[in-house]
Amino acid sequence: MSQAIARLPRPRALLRYLWSLIAVPLVSFFLALLVGAIVIILSSTLVLKNPFDPTLPLTAYQALAQGAFGSFNSVVTTLVITTPLLLAGLGVGIGFRAGLFNIGAQGQFLMGAVGAVAVAANMQSSPPAIAIPAALAGGALAGAAWGFVPGLLKATSGAHEVVTTIMMNYIALASLAWIVKGPLKEMGSNPPTTPDVGAAALPILIGSTGHLGILLAFAAVPIAWFLLFRTTRGFEIRAVGANPDAARYAGVNPRLMIVLTMSIAGMLAGLAGACTILGISHRMNTTFQTKVGFDSITVALLGRSNPIGIMFAALLFGAMRAGAPPMQINAGIPVELVDFIQALILLFLIANAVLRRLLRLRGVAGAEQTGFQTITRSYGRETLT
């Protein structure tokens, strides 16, 4: 990238350069919507045998957009949904930076929520000023613990984090069920339910649902960015991810970094869970589940494990998730369509080399190379020696 910027060209060329920057994302996005539209029309005519209606996609997308931005409330909703995606996404992203493929955001999220409730339930009487930070900390710790374990296992026995984190997700489910039915069960509740988080409930700042967690999440972005790119710890994390051997030579202890990174990742995912339970649900029964864990992986990938990128990616996902129900309600288009569209955007973005050829743009080499090496090494390459 930097070379490209280094030699910033003359005005006319400058326009071409700018175009070369926005072209691919723009085209990707429209292609995704286009394919989505085709799917909508085809499915409604072929599957539902409806009369051919070319405006249906427009109706759908309009409903989607309105659900995401149509009103002040919908904007708030978007932010609320973005919050956990952003936090967990940052966690997964940092993992990628260290060459770790953390599929465990799911479990870390759940345990974070459990931790938060556990603390909150025992602090009903104390003032919010104390209860809220305590509950958040509880969530962060529980999540961190759930990330720490796979990290430790990899550092000590080399057990592959892809396996261990997947397994930890299911173990988290079981633990949650046990805790909600046992230690944390509110007397007389059936189905078993935890006490209300009471004093630890996050205050609503904007609209009817915009809770404190939103601030937390967006504050985490610059912090994560600073940690990664401006501190020695961040440098060590990235070094281990990019070349563990060189990192060792540089005096970094990869094992330590792996444990540390997994714990940080778990902590962020845990915070996401804590915010959800403290900000939205307020209490938990065994149906407490989430898609955030896996969405956050996509968010991190889409954001190229760069905090800034992750923020926008999370916003995009949040907007689509917020807009999906209205789309189903007002246009009768199943919510799952947005998953499909998200996949398409991602698809066209990583196929950008092809797009560029089609658009006759010169690609920016180098940047990409390093981009995927860091991520895919995290899967194939052995991080320890």
Partner: protein
């Protein structure tokens, strides 16, 4: 090959090169690293596509789109970096692509092993077809490479720097082998930058420089001086003037050091050595005799099985890389891509790789970008690393510049000990000269230097004392100035007679 031209972004690797090869001749292709030899051969072998020019075999033009075409034309290549698959067996590596089949689907392993034993026997060497390649020494791997070509019954044989990792003795054996092949009527292209070897083996010598053919000679009618000038384009002194050394107190003391490799085999088996300030100790030895593990153990990258290491009187056995580094030890690793650099990171980060955490580059946890940038600019200037900016990723640099990057990092400051493992591997003569000069400077500044190199010439040129490493032991010490190449070569190959090993004491006299 007629008018072969190949351009890579920024450089013209081959510029209208003509090259003709007669049946049964050994044709040497002489040139510096980066002169375009390898590119030319990759084109011949179909690994790269020429922008211009054509290739003729037996008079008619042929299109070589991929190695399979080349192989079909009887062209085979032994690559500078071995093209062997470590986890597969010798047999599997050899037959790969030309498998001996028991039936259309399954391999016939017994038949394969039989043929391989037969071939090896015919050219007078031994190989266990079922041994995993990763368990072989570099010399043996070289043989596997050649075996691959013989197995395919190559008519045109291209060897890219085949002797780089061999002892003089092994080199001789290879030469014999090559001559036999030539007598067989096979044609051989022998790529090298070692003048004496070229003069010894070749029937004809083509010299290329900066992608151009700059001359063709017969060994009879030329000498190394002329070839060197052709090759480099100016007169070069072939040997550095190493000057007098003034060893002072002992800086590094190693007592009965034992080290294991990744597979748990003990590859360093009791090394005793002392290095004093202001002297260069060169370790000669065939690659794979434990040098790398020895060095890695010294700098803390590899666990010490037993024995002791004293640095400046302090026991640093089993110290971490950082502790070693804090003791002002500089280290130039053999594999610069593995230990030396983080290729994906910008020059700035790579230049502070070992000092990123301490002032002025970091205050507490926070890094100081400005200080780092300043230091980087200064070093890049001082060691003239050719780069568009200090922000580009290290992988965009040429090998030579990458090595300069490492050297500038490790030589900087008042280093007490320099550990150099293959410091000039794969570099062009210019960079080699440059680095050799710096090494001498550091020595004269009172640094103790440990130099490990597979290039015997390099060891002979630079070392004040030479230790020969054989099967994990230092079997002999000789004075760098009186050292005789053949004697050292013999020690490298055989480990020498036992009485010599008795004499061999670690202390300098």
């Amino acid at each position: 090959m007629r008018g072969i031209t190949k351009r890579y972004p920024g450089v013209v690797a081959n510029d209208h090169i003509d090259l003709d090869l007669r049946q049964g001749e050994i044709h040497a292709l002489l040139g510096e690293n980066g002169a375009g030899k390898t590119t030319l051969m990759n084109i011949l072998y179909g690994l790269a596509v020429p922008d211009e020019g054509e290739i003729l075999v037996d008079g008619q033009a042929v299109r070589i789109a991929g190695p399979s075409d080349a192989i079909a034309r009887g062209i085979e290549m032994v690559h500078q970096h071995f093209m062997l698959i470590p986890v597969l067996s010798v047999a599997e590596n050899v037959v790969l692509g030309e498998e001996t089949m028991a039936n259309p689907v399954f391999l016939d392993r017994r038949e394969a092993s039989r043929r391989i034993r037969k071939l090896a026997g015919r050219f007078g060497f031994e190989l266990d077809p079922d041994a995993k390649v990763e368990s072989l020494s570099v010399g043996q791997q070289q043989r596997v490479e050649i075996l691959k070509t013989l197995y395919r019954d190559a008519q045109i044989l291209v060897l890219d720097e085949p002797t780089a990792v061999l002892t003089p003795a092994e080199t001789e054996e290879i030469f014999v082998l090559l001559r036999n092949l030539a007598k067989d009527g096979r044609s051989i292209i022998f790529i090298s930058h070692k003048l004496n070897e070229v003069l010894e083996i070749a029937d004809r010598i083509t010299v290329i420089r900066r992608g151009r053919v700059v001359g063709e000679r017969r060994p009879a009618e030329t000498d190394d001086k002329e070839l060197a000038e052709l090759m480099v384009g100016r007169s070069v002194q072939l040997t550095v003037d190493r000057g007098e050394s003034h060893p002072t107190e002992v800086m590094l003391k190693v007592e009965d050091l034992h080290v294991r490799d990744d597979r748990g085999n003990e590859v360093v088996r009791g090394v005793d050595v002392e290095i004093r300030r202001g002297e260069i100790l060169g370790i000669a030895g065939v690659a794979g005799n434990g040098q790398d593990e020895f060095v890695e153990a010294l700098v803390g990258l590899r666990r010490v099985a037993s024995g002791r290491v004293w640095l400046n009187g302090r026991n640093v056995t089993g110290a971490s890389p950082r502790q070693i580094n804090e003791a002002n030890v500089g280290y130039v690793p053999a594999d610069r891509h593995r230990f030396g650099l983080i290729l994906a990171f910008p020059l700035t980060d790579n230049l502070v790789l070992t000092s990123y955490y301490k002032p002025p580059f970091a205050h507490g946890l926070v890094r100081d970008g400005r200080a780092i940038l300043a230091a980087a600019r200064q070093r890049v200037r001082e060691y003239d690393v050719r780069t568009p900016s200090t922000e580009v990723a290290a992988q965009t640099l040429s090998g030579g510049n990458q090595q300069k990057l490492i050297v500038s990092r490790e030589f900087g400051g008042d280093t007490t000990l320099l550990v150099l493992d293959q410091p000039t591997r794969g570099l062009d003569v210019g960079s080699i000269e440059f680095i050799h000069k710096r090494i001498i400077e550091k020595r004269d500044a009172g640094t103790a230097v440990l130099l490990v190199s597979a290039e015997l010439d390099e060891v002979l040129e630079l070392s004040d004392r030479i230790a020969v490493m054989y099967r994990g032991k230092l079997v002999a010490f000789v004075d760098g100035r009186q050292a005789d190449k053949n004697q050292v070569g013999l020690l490298m190959a055989t480990g020498g007679a036992t009485d010599e090993t008795h004499e061999a004491t670690g202390t300098s006299t």
